[in-house]
């Protein structure tokens, strides 16, 4: 299963030498939006200057609660949404513990990280990487 | 002696909120508990001592139906 990871010690969340290219590349190239706050990952600067990352780890909890089976794992183990069957109930969003299932007010279907690695390439400090890890066990939620 | 929802209950040293619930067999999960008017959070049921003479209110919310 492809999973996005971050090494916070390399990340410049405080924007001294980077403009959060990860978020802007994700939002623009993957979701064709403009506002970096709508990216499928969030890097936040904390008061003490350190960074905090909110990433989807492809845990699959959202797959478990989706009533329509719009969510499933693809061949690479990544959780993807089939917009044709999604009914916009947002249970996936409410049940994502990391709160990284995203929504654009203009669309009824929500969206999430697809572990594509575009942000990895965009990061000037190589803080992000895509790793291959085993799929976690199915959780009853 | 303490009062639990208006009924008398024997007090003993070390009585906790949990002890009151067990004694009265209050097993319902949606409770609002006050001891002498002070709200007790669920995580503090085991640690909160009920003093002698206390007024304990165990409000059961509605459920089911």
């Amino acid at each position: 299963m492809r999973q996005l990871r971050i090494d916070l010690s390399k990340c410049d969340a405080g924007r001294a030498t980077c403009q959060h290219e990860c978020e802007s590349s994700c939002v623009e190239k993957v979701f064709k939006l403009t506002d970096p706050a709508m990216a499928a990952l969030h890097i936040r600067e904390l008061a003490d200057g350190s960074g905090q990352a909110v990433l989807c780890d492809q845990c699959g909890d959202c797959v478990v609660v989706c009533p329509t089976e719009a969510l499933s794992r693809n061949k690479l183990g990544v959780v993807v949404i089939d917009k044709k069957v999604c009914v916009g109930c947002y249970m996936c969003m409410g049940f994502c513990e990391k709160e990284i299932f995203e929504r654009n007010p203009e669309w009824t279907e929500p969206y999430k990280c697809i572990s594509c690695g575009i942000c990895v390439k965009a990061c000037p400090h190589a803080a992000l990487e895509i790793v291959d890890v085993p799929e976690p066990a199915y959780r009853i939620l | 002696m303490i009062q639990v929802n208006g009924d008398g209950m024997e007090w003993q040293d070390g009585l906790t909120v949990r002890g009151v619930l067990v004694h009265r067999n209050f097993r319902f999960p949606l409770l609002i508990i006050t001891v002498n008017g002070e709200l007790v959070q669920p995580k503090a049921y085991d640690s909160t001592l009920v003093p002698d003479g206390a007024e304990v209110q165990v409000v059961h919310l509605m459920s089911g139906g």
């Binding site: 009533p67 089976e69 009914v87 409410g94 939620l141 | 097993r27 669920p42 509605m62 089911g64």
Partner: protein
């Protein structure tokens, strides 16, 4: 607190995709259909929750037409149960009875119904003249039918007339076709029929989720307690699931009209089909609520794991679980049917909402039941539930503590199309009559109706479905059974009347009201009859002692019935209101009303319709419909004080055994409340004292409640109250009231 913690390793390993299939004869069944009428219509989507038209179908004359939904209908009746009552009012006369052709069945989802973002928003309300009570009955039911009907283009479906052949009404909201088809060879029982029809009317596999079937079963034809099943396609299980419009015999009316099924094929559901005024507010409120369920439900009611069955052992612990026809409140065998058991028996590895977006997901299913008796003996089936009412009604109240038999009783109630609550209460009555010699083996035609005899209990149900023997008598319900047993001279009329748990002709649902005066009113001072969906006040009254005076109780019996009526006007489910609460609820003023959730409802209503309301206006909206329904009852010859009396079993101890089982409590009341000395009194004297004290208090409560509701001492809404509510705009409503002032 002492709630069982979910342990996935305890869940039974049952394959939830495996069950007996019934599709073999599908082609032949379909080939036998004959189109009696076909008309086309222009499908539409609602605008801010309303299509502004309803669909009228007369199954006798085959007339099909569209009717406008007027601004006045929206202003006064809102939708759901309100529209249902309004259509019914216009369809019937005071002399109309349930089996007259002019009686209607109205199915109406309500303006909010069909949004997918908040829990419990897919309900339909069903209204008809009840064969049990002769007044309107209303039932709030899940399943996909209501939303799909609305997304096809109709705010309500009104069915009138009586057919001479069995037929199906098919509404195709994708193609814009309404078809009435003669259906001579359909299977009769719901779990088969809904499966066959879902496959028959879906154009391909993916289309099945767009189909919902309304149908009943064999017992609805031979009893007065028939229920309607509303289906949806459970994609993960690969089967249909059923939710029930249970109370009051709606299924009996359905079959009396010779309708086999009403099928709706709607468009593919998307999140925005209800075209609400303010989508963003609904989305945000929904996500906040889903999060609350994720965080709190595992530590509160565990609705996602247990459904409503989580309160079985709780009711037992508080001496409130109806046992042996409401005689006692607990039983040593309750642990065999408690939530820990159902948690392990129900399939946990799937999604169990009865409409999209229901994160509360109480519609649990027990898969892999191998049926032991009756026509489906040996079949592997999925049973919906059991919900609390079923576990208590079919279980403890009849002394049945074998969970497999309980599931089988539940399964047959559902597929035969009878109400589990009604069946539970009437069987408990039969069993107590058997215990007390009012019935015996000869009078039941060989059925041995002893407590806990699940086999004969099931046989009685099979007889009901076959239209045979004692099953026919039992299927008349408690009220008619009482009349029959008294007429036959089988027992002391007073005893029979005391222990027959019905009011207005409807059986009590499964809570013990004996020790809670407020709940006695919560049951018998209702519009449709004793169903807990108006007010459930036992904890507030008996355990918390929050409402000590008559006025306090009257206030609760004013607020809660109106608050809860509102769910049925809009197409909401009641459970998400109070089966989970926000973490900071305890700190809120009026915490018992769950203020944050009330605000959610206010916000969702406003965001759907664009009509700005607050929590007081919400109550006002309900009061219009609630009082209208009361006046409707009066118009039909009920709805006065005499009709609000309760059987004594609901008020206090009828028998010496009951008295002795709670002697300490009862003696104390004699001393403290009645100021008598119990030590000098015989048991008979003590029981007589309780009877008059309790009946007196019930009358005092009735006075206080009528006063708070703006009714005369005879229970009639006053002209001033009508004016406040704007009901004085309807002269025919005013006329009914004037006759009784």
């Amino acid at each position: 607190m002492s709630q069982f913690v979910f342990d996935p390793t305890k869940v039974m390993d049952i394959d939830f995709t495996k069950r007996t299939e019934y599709l073999e004869g599908l082609e032949a069944i379909k080939a036998a259909h004959k189109v009696l009428k076909e008309i086309s219509f222009t499908p539409s989507l609602p605008d801010k929750g309303y299509n502004h038209r309803s669909l009228y179908v007369n199954v006798g004359t085959l007339e099909v037409k569209e009717k406008p939904v007027t601004q006045q209908m929206k202003d006064v009746f809102l939708g759901g149960r309100g529209f249902g009552l309004w259509h019914l009012w216009n369809a019937v006369k005071p002399t109309t009875r349930w089996n007259d052709p002019e009686n209607e069945i109205i199915i109406c989802p309500g303006p909010v119904s069909g949004i997918t973002q908040y829990a419990g928003t897919g309900k339909s309300l069903v209204v008809t003249l009840s064969p049990q009570t002769d007044i309107p009955i209303d039932s709030n039911v899940g399943g996909y039918f209501g939303p799909l009907l609305k997304f096809s283009g109709f705010d309500a479906l009104e069915i009138q007339g009586k057919s001479e052949c069995d037929l199906i009404v098919f509404i195709d909201g994708q193609k814009g076709i309404i078809r009435i088809e003669e259906a001579p060879e359909e299977p009769v029982d719901s779990h088969v029929l809904a499966e066959v029809l879902t496959h028959m009317y879906a154009e391909n596999d993916a289309d099945r989720v767009n189909i919902s079937v309304v149908c009943t079963g064999a017992a609805a034809e031979h009893s007065l307690i028939g229920m309607l099943n509303f289906s949806w396609w459970d994609h993960r299980r690969g089967c249909i699931r059923l939710k029930q419009a249970g109370r009051g015999g709606i299924g009996t009316v359905f079959r009396n009209k010779r309708i086999r099924a009403v099928v709706c094929r709607g468009p593919q559901v998307k999140g925005d089909l209800n075209n609400v005024a303010d989508y963003e507010t609904i989305a945000k409120t929904g996500i906040k609520y889903h999060k609350e369920i994720r965080e709190n439900d595992p530590y509160q009611c565990m609705m996602r794991r247990n459904g409503t069955a989580h309160i079985v052992e709780i009711m037992d612990a508080y001496d409130l679980l109806p046992t042996h026809n409401f005689q006692y409140g607990s039983h040593p065998d309750t642990h065999k049917i408690d939530s820990a058991y159902w948690q392990s028996r129900c399939t946990q590895k799937t999604v169990d909402g009865c409409w999209y977006g229901c994160s509360m997901a109480c519609a649990k299913g027990a898969d892999g039941l191998v049926v032991k008796t009756g026509p489906y003996k040996g079949h592997t089936v999925t049973v919906d539930g059991p919900e609390y009412e079923n576990a208590a009604g079919l279980g403890s109240n009849c002394g049945v503590f074998d969970p497999d038999y309980l599931l089988e009783l539940n399964f047959y109630c559902d597929t035969y199309g009878i109400c589990t609550i009604t069946y539970g209460t009437l069987t408990a009555f039969v069993m107590e009559c058997y215990q007390r010699g009012i019935l015996n083996k000869e009078r039941t035609g060989g059925l041995e109706m002893t407590w806990g005899n699940a086999e004969d209990d099931l046989e009685m149900m099979h007889q009901m479905a076959r239209g045979e023997g004692f099953g026919i008598i039992a299927g008349q319900g408690v009220k008619k059974m009482k009349e029959i047993f008294i007429k036959n001279g089988w027992g002391d009329p007073k005893l029979i009347n005391d222990i027959g748990m019905e009011n207005k002709g409807l059986e009590y649902s499964q809570y013990m009201s004996k020790e809670s005066l407020a709940q006695q009113g919560g049951y018998a001072l209702t519009n449709k009859g004793p169903q807990h969906d108006e007010a459930w006040l036992i904890f507030m009254d008996m355990v918390n002692k929050q409402i000590p005076t008559f006025e306090d109780k009257a206030e609760a019996l004013y607020y809660f019935p109106l608050f809860r009526t509102w769910f049925g006007l809009n197409g909401f489910c009641k459970l998400p209101w109070n089966d989970v609460v926000p973490s900071n609820n305890a700190q809120q003023p009026e915490a018992h009303k769950i203020p944050e959730h009330v605000q959610n409802y206010v916000d969702i209503f406003t965001a759907t319709t664009g009509i700005k309301i607050d929590k007081d206006e919400l109550i006002h909206q309900s009061a219009k419909v609630y009082n209208f329904q009361r006046i409707f009852n009066i118009r039909m010859g009920k709805g006065l004080r005499k009709d609000d009396h309760a059987p004594f079993r609901a008020l206090g101890p009828v028998t010496t055994e009951e008295y002795l089982s709670r002697q300490e409590r009862y003696d104390k009341q004699i001393a403290e409340e009645m100021k008598l000395d119990p030590t000098t009194m015989s048991l008979e004297e003590k029981m007589a004292a309780h009877r008059s004290w309790r009946q007196g208090r019930y009358e005092q409560l009735t006075d206080a409640v009528y006063k708070r509701r703006g009714w005369t001492p005879n229970g009639v809404p006053t002209l001033e109250r009508l004016k406040e509510l704007g009901l004085d705009a309807f002269p025919e409503v005013v006329d009914v009231v004037k006759l009784h002032l």
